[in-house]
């Protein structure tokens, strides 16, 4: 049975914006699961309390959906993740229909989100941004040694489940992830050592859109989003760059004069 929200979504996606299918979360047998529903089919018990990144799901099924326009609920961070995907041509923008969802106050607080309102709000009420991350202010007061102790203590809890990479919407390398390469991370070791986390931090530095999915996925409750936010700040200070905009190019892919280079370095 379709609920009110489902009716509203169907109208927006299929009637007004001409989508052929809709990617949603819905309740099935007491669990919330993702579902791709073709136009005309029963949407079921659609839910908005999205427990994981729809964009990651879109990214995973996209290669198998060869035609048609896909409607998807996009919060502000989803929009930014989509921009990173479109920029790299993993997804064709013309095949995506966005249905903007403004996050709840509670969600904004949990994500310490500074940019919570999507470019077009179709669902939900826009709320103000959060006022920064409490852990960041604590870390800023620490000495270098204390900071290392803090992060080492956190990262020691890691059991190398790869939840943070698998659930991240902008972690693209799939089969050649260096974190699975024993050159960089000694294979049998759990916890995997600081290199694992520093390398992942570096890899996300020009892509992370601060959705917080890594932190939510982490069974060890490591404050991964705080680390991402710290480095996003550094990136902005150094190169005035923020991921999440289709039109900008990562400074890692330009020369010092700003001319575009090929993605990845195959020159040497």
């Amino acid at each position: 049975m379709v609920n009110d929200l489902g009716r509203k979504l169907a109208k927006l996606a299929f009637e007004e914006r001409g989508a052929d299918m809709l990617l949603v979360m819905r309740e099935e047998h007491g669990n919330v699961v993702p579902a791709m529903v073709p136009k005309g089919e029963d949407l079921g018990d659609v839910r908005l309390d999205i427990p994981y990144q729809l964009i990651t799901i879109l990214e995973n099924i996209y290669p198998w959906v060869s035609k048609g326009r896909i409607a998807i609920i996009t919060r502000r961070c989803d929009e930014k993740a989509l921009a990173e995907l479109v920029k790299r041509k993993y997804v064709d923008d013309k095949r995506i229909v966005r249905i903007g969802l403004a996050c709840s106050e509670d969600q904004i607080r949990r994500c310490r989100c500074e940019d919570p309102v999507p470019s077009k709000v179709d669902l939900g009420e826009p709320h103000a941004a959060a006022k920064g991350d409490e852990l960041i202010s604590r870390l800023e007061k620490m000495s270098q040694q204390e900071r290392l102790e803090f992060w080492a203590g956190q990262f020691k809890k890691c059991n190398k489940c790869f939840g943070c990479t698998l659930n991240c919407p902008v972690c693209f390398c799939d089969d050649d992830c260096v974190l699975e390469d024993r050159t960089f991370v000694a294979e049998p070791s759990v916890p995997p050592g600081l290199s694992f986390h520093m390398i992942r931090s570096y890899h996300m530095i020009d892509k992370c859109i601060e959705c917080g999915e890594c932190e939510r996925s982490c069974p060890a409750e490591i404050p991964l989003l705080t680390m991402r936010k710290l480095l996003a700040k550094d990136m902005k200070e150094l190169f005035k760059f923020r991921p999440g905009d289709e039109k900008t190019v990562s400074p890692l892919n330009t020369t010092l004069e700003g001319e575009q280079l090929e993605d990845g370095c195959d020159e040497c």
Partner: protein, 139 residues
């Protein structure tokens, strides 16, 4: 107590910096023995992962040396390095490792003396910083 003698990796690109190191050597310039030179084709071959792995493994300092901007054998290789290394430094800083443990500089094939100076300065600086704190972290 014996003076702290750091272990330092120096990545030198084949076309300029390694030749610069060679020149310093044949000119018999005196240099501290702490550095272990790794010859790479270009400074852009120095993946940030190498630097991070080295420091997380307890190396006290990493020096990355390449051709001067404009002189890279592969045209824009060192432009990439110039963008990457400052970000690697930030990653180090955020986890609580002094970013001065990584240094990037440019040394041409004719700059034997500059090579000597860069190496000596860096070794001195790392001596001041003391041993890599990662050595003391029980994992």
């Amino acid at each position: 107590m014996a003076e702290f003698s750091p272990t330092i990796l120096a990545f030198c690109c084949n076309w300029c910096s390694y030749a610069g190191a060679d020149l310093a050597g044949v000119s018999r310039l005196q240099m501290p023995p702490n550095i272990h030179i790794i010859r790479v084709m270009c400074s852009a071959s120095v993946k940030p992962e190498y630097v991070l792995k080295a420091i997380s493994g307890g190396v006290d300092g990493v020096l990355v040396l390449g051709c001067h901007i404009g002189d890279c054998h592969y045209m824009t290789g060192n432009h990439r390095t110039a963008k990457r290394m400052p970000l690697v430094q930030k990653v180090l800083k955020e986890v609580g490792i002094d970013e001065k443990r990584l240094r990037l500089d440019w040394v041409s094939a004719s700059e034997g003396e500059k090579f000597q100076k860069v190496v000596t300065d860096f070794v001195d600086e790392v001596k001041q910083l003391g041993p890599n704190p990662m050595r003391g972290v029980k994992w």
